[in-house]
Symmetry: C2
Subunit: 324 residues, 2 copies
């Protein structure tokens, strides 16, 4: 194949083809393009005004790593801490932690590691338990809870996540299809907290595709976890992403159009029409919830109770005997 | 292939397989099923309260024919008139008119025929003209205008159309994708008029699929135009319907879920949030419009003006010289 020339500088090694923009760039120009876009997104949505002391949630994957590396590159003065949640997924979690430690070391960013097993149950245990929730659903709940709690406890005002355009569009498609407007109204680049027990949440990669994030870490030569989580097999989220790409092949620009429609047209209407559910304090942990006991405490409780009554900790790997 | 038994009566000729309901029925049971569902839809959305003197717009196709035949079967006392608009599409329009005359004769329903060429220009002429609008778009505009005008002039309070679930979902998908909420809020089974120059519009087949309508005319042994309009070639509406069916094959029930989400979740929110544009009277014809001159008069005007200044009527088949 003849070498492709960079559309910006003319160099002969334009390895990064941005499909939706139909343009190819060399590594140096791609990094400049990506960081300029990241900066524009952060400023457009007023993210910088929100995050004084951000805690970046790192999974070791391409997206959250891009968020951390990108933010540090574009805003070097931003005081950033990283959080890694050890979900206790054998093999996968160790490999992710290794990669996360490497990138935070290289950047000189402080890293907080939170191990879920210290809270009572790992994600595989939660997924196996009598709750029988899909691993991705329970994992999402757990991560949201831990990110917020650790941020509050360590004095960070904002949790930064690597959610990108593809993540948002995939969920949007599902929420619109089913008319779940209360959830759709929360799909935003910036979600404000309450300043007490709920942090702000910010998504600097809101307008980046999977492809753009992958190219960025590649162009910067940063190692990320490339394998998929072993628990994701058969998850709806994967088949939905495949479907979205099939629709995109029929309607080029589908994802970008839908995201734009959501932000510019739907969100203003939904924000006015949908009242957010009132938040209470969880009777167990005190963190915000819409019910009496938050879903994190409900998931973790059986083990905690078992321990409280003095049963063997070794049996905690299976929640079948746990109390409801 | 072994004969399939009817899921209702057990007869051996269950020719009608309703794919989304995964059930097969014989002709008699299918007709009963369809008419019961039609009746339920009409009552659920309060259509009967709205249409005292309905004018059913007939194209000769499976949907509008099902609407007329279904309404007459379920509500024999309903005073129904039919309208056929001769769009002037060579071959297709003559064949459609023949079929429409046949079914209205059989039902003993009065038929009004309106010929577009008497208004100045046929649909092929409009599509060819300097406006260069897509045939389906201009045809839709023209039909909506003529249906309303004829209904008002002949004392009918309501226009009934054969728009079904597939039509609505196809448009919904496009409007949601692009965030066209002002148009999405008008995708309803019942649209009220102003009681003066704008009739009510009612869609009794709002919850029927293409398949259900096709089966109904087949089971009743009613002839319909089966060929597609020759001008539809390459229309977006066709490729969108194909896409929707591909999505449905991946997410069974997609169309029904989306329609339900629209009616139950989105419409109440959109109705409160979106203010309808104020209607003025068209400076030329006096019928409602959002601009000074309605799109029908703008499309027809060049020819009218040419005629007004005395040029040869024979040249009217091409609008190239028409005034803007």
């Amino acid at each position: 194949m003849p070498p492709v020339r960079c559309a910006r500088c003319g160099a002969e090694d334009a390895r990064y083809h941005i499909s939706f923009a139909r343009t190819s760039l060399c590594a140096a120009c791609y990094v400049r393009y990506y960081e300029r876009k990241l900066k524009a997104t952060v400023l457009k949505y007023g993210m910088l005004k929100v995050m004084r002391r951000p805690l970046v949630a790192l999974s070791g994957g391409k997206d959250s790593t891009s968020a951390l590396v990108g933010l540090k590159s574009v805003f070097p003065d931003l005081e950033v801490t990283a959080l890694y949640i050890d979900l206790g997924i054998p093999g996968y979690s160790e490999e992710s932690e290794r990669v996360v430690r490497k990138v935070t070391d290289e950047l000189g960013v402080e890293l907080i590691v939170h191990r879920l097993k210290n809270d009572g149950r790992t994600v595989p245990e939660l997924a196996r338990g009598r709750f029988k929730r899909k691993p991705c659903a329970i994992c999402g709940t757990v991560k949201r809870y831990v990110m917020n709690k650790i941020a509050i406890e360590t004095g960070h005002d904002t949790v930064v996540t690597g959610h990108n355009l593809d993540d948002t569009v995939e969920v949007l498609f599902e929420l619109y299809r089913r008319g779940l407007l209360e959830e759709a109204v929360r799909l935003r680049p910036v979600l404000l907290g309450d300043g007490v027990r709920l942090t702000n949440r910010v998504k600097p990669l809101f307008e980046m595709t999977d492809e753009e994030d992958l190219y960025y870490v590649d162009a910067k030569g940063i190692e990320v976890v490339e394998s998929w989580c072993p628990l994701v097999r058969g998850a709806k989220t994967v088949s939905r992403k495949v479907l979205i790409h099939e629709i995109e092949s029929k309607i080029p620009g589908f994802r970008h159009t839908l995201l734009k429609a959501h932000v510019k047209r739907f969100l203003p209407v939904l924000e006015r029409a949908i009242s957010q559910p009132e938040l209470k304090r969880c009777a167990v942990c005190g963190y915000p919830t819409t019910s009496d006991v938050c879903s994190y405490c409900r998931a973790m409780r059986p083990v905690t109770l078992k321990r409280d009554v003095g049963s063997s900790g070794a049996g905690a790997s299976n929640g079948e005997e746990g109390l409801r």
